[in-house]
Symmetry: C2
Subunit: 280 residues, 2 copies
C-alpha cells in the first residue's frame, strides 16, 4: 500500500509529464499558508488564492504574489492544480461548489477520502503533509513526509513530481493507509503536546519555570528517533520505582485528573515493557 517513489522512477523517463506551472490555493488557514509558502519558495507561481474572508484572503494572496478571490465564480479555470487546503468539514461543499475546471483538484486532509473529489473531478488527488502546522510558526517542509494519492498512475506521477519540489519525502499511500498514519500522529503529536501542556501547567501553578523542560523535550524526541521509543524509555515506571511513583501520586492529590493520568500512564508503561508490579 505504501510504495517508494523510487519504484516508479524508471517510468518517469518513458512518460511525458507536464509540470504544474499555474497553481490555485483554496483556503487561508495554517495548511494553506505552509504549503503556499513552500510552493513559492520552490519557485512555483500561485496565480490565485481563494477564501471566504476578505482580509485573510488578501493577506495570504499578498504573501504569495497571487490574486485574491472571494467568489468561486472568479476562479481562473485554467490552473494546473487546485489545492483545497480547507478544514475536513468544508471539503465536500467546496468540491461541489467549484466551477468546471480542467486542472487536477487535490485536498490536503488526512481523514477525508479522495473519493469525495473523484465523484466530481476525474483529475484528482491528495497531498497530505504529516506535520503539525500553526500559523504563527514558520514551517520547513523540506523533510516532511507528504502522502500522495491520485486517480491514476499518470496523475500519481504528476503529483509525485510536484510534491518533490517541496519535500524530499514523497510517500504513495491510499486513503486508508493515510488515515492510519494520521491516527498514529495523534498519539505522537497531539497527545504528546498535551503532556507538555500538563507539565507546563503544573510547573506554572507551582511558581516554577516550564521553559527549563525544553532541552528534555528536544532530547526525548531526538533519542526516540535515533534508538526507537521502546529502547529510549526511562523513569520510575520503567524501573518499577514504586516509592517515587507513590510520592508523585501524593504530590498530585489536588489535581485528580493529572493524578489519574499519572497512574494510568505508569501502568501502561509497565505493561508495555512487561514489568509486573512485584518485579523490581
Amino acid at each position: 500500500m505504501v510504495q517508494s517513489i523510487l519504484l516508479l522512477s524508471s517510468k518517469i523517463n518513458i512518460l511525458v509529464i507536464s509540470g504544474f506551472s499555474r497553481l490555485t490555493i483554496l483556503g487561508t488557514g495554517h495548511v494553506a499558508w505552509a504549503i503556499g509558502m513552500a510552493l513559492k519558495q520552490a519557485g512555483h507561481s500561485v496565480v490565485q488564492v481563494f477564501g471566504r474572508d476578505n482580509a485573510r484572503t488578501m493577506e495570504l494572496a499578498n504573501a504569495l504574489d497571487a490574486q485574491p478571490v472571494v467568489n468561486l465564480t472568479d476562479l481562473a479555470p485554467d490552473s494546473d492544480v487546485f489545492i483545497l487546503a480547507v478544514s475536513d468539514d468544508a471539503i465536500f461543499d467546496l468540491v461541489n461548489s467549484l466551477p468546471a475546471v480542467r486542472g487536477m483538484v487535490v485536498h490536503t486532509s488526512a481523514s477525508v477520502s479522495m473519493e469525495v473529489i473523484k465523484e466530481r473531478f476525474s483529475g484528482c488527488g491528495v497531498l497530505y503533509p504529516l506535520q503539525t502546522l500553526s500559523r504563527n510558526r514558520k514551517s520547513n517542509l523540506s523533510d516532511v513526509p507528504f502522502f500522495v494519492e491520485a486517480a491514476d498512475e499518470n496523475q500519481l506521477l504528476q503529483l509525485t513530481r510536484f510534491a518533490s519540489t517541496i519535500t524530499s519525502h514523497v510517500i504513495h499511500a491510499d486513503s486508508d493507509t493515510r488515515r492510519k498514519y494520521h491516527l498514529a500522529a495523534i498519539f505522537a503529536c497531539n497527545f504528546v503536546n498535551h503532556m507538555y501542556s500538563i507539565a507546563s501547567d503544573y510547573l506554572t501553578a507551582q511558581g516554577l519555570r516550564p521553559e527549563l523542560l525544553g532541552p528534555l523535550m528536544e532530547e526525548t524526541a531526538a533519542k526516540a528517533i535515533e534508538l526507537g521509543a521502546a529502547a529510549s524509555q526511562t523513569g520510575p515506571a520503567l524501573r518499577d520505582d514504586s516509592q517515587t511513583m507513590q510520592r508523585h501520586i501524593e504530590m498530585l492529590r489536588y489535581l485528580p485528573e493529572y493524578q489519574n493520568l499519572y497512574a494510568l500512564m505508569s501502568t501502561l508503561i509497565q505493561q508495555f515493557h512487561n514489568k509486573p508490579d512485584d518485579q523490581l
Copy 2:
C-alpha cells in the same frame, strides 16, 4: 526557592573558592557515564570510578582514564568531590558504607533528599541533570539544566562553579523544588515517550513505517518550546472534530487500551482548552 546563579555572582569575588581538582565517580550506569564523560571533556581529572561490577567499572574507568575501584575501602579519601551516580534505592546504603572522606559528597538523584547524605557528611550536595540519559546514546549536557543544592552557601558556590564547567544552565533548588521539576519531567519525557511507543507499535502492527513520524516528533517539541504547548495544540480533539475522533476510536477497536487512552486524552485536551462537546 529557585534562584539564578546571577544572584550570587557578586559574592564570588569576595569568597576564596577552591575549584575541585580531584573527582571520584561512584556508579557505572547511564548517569555516571553521561556526567563522567562531560567532566572529562571539560578538562576535569576523574581519579577513581567505583562500581560493584568489575567489567562495568573497568569500562567506565578506562573511558575516563581513571582507576577502577570495586571495594569501598580502596577509595582515595582525598578527592574533592564524590559523585554518587547510583540508583535512588542504592544511595542510602552507599552513603552509610563510605569511608570517612574529606571531600564533598553529592548525589545526582531527582527524588532523594540531600538530608540522606547530610546525616553523615557535612560537606554534601546534589547535582541533578534534568535530562533523559541512556547508555547507548551520547549526551550533550552543555545546555541541560543542572539542579544544584548544597549544605551551606559556600558549598553551594563551589558546586555551582563546578557544575558551570559542564553546563551553561545551573539552577539552585532545594529537594522539594527539584522533585516538582522531576514530576513535570515524567509527563514531558516518560509519558511523551510512551506515546511515541504506542504510535510506533500501532504502525508496526499495521505493516507501516514508524520512522515517518520523526519530523513530526521533532517539530512538535520545537513548536511547543517556541510557542508554548497550549498555543501549539492542533488536531481533531482541539477542533472538536467528532467524526474523525469517532473513526479513530473505531480503528482502535482491537486495541482497547489504546482506544481508552485515545478517548481520555481527547477529553482532557477538550477540557484543558475549554471546548465543550457541543461547541464547534
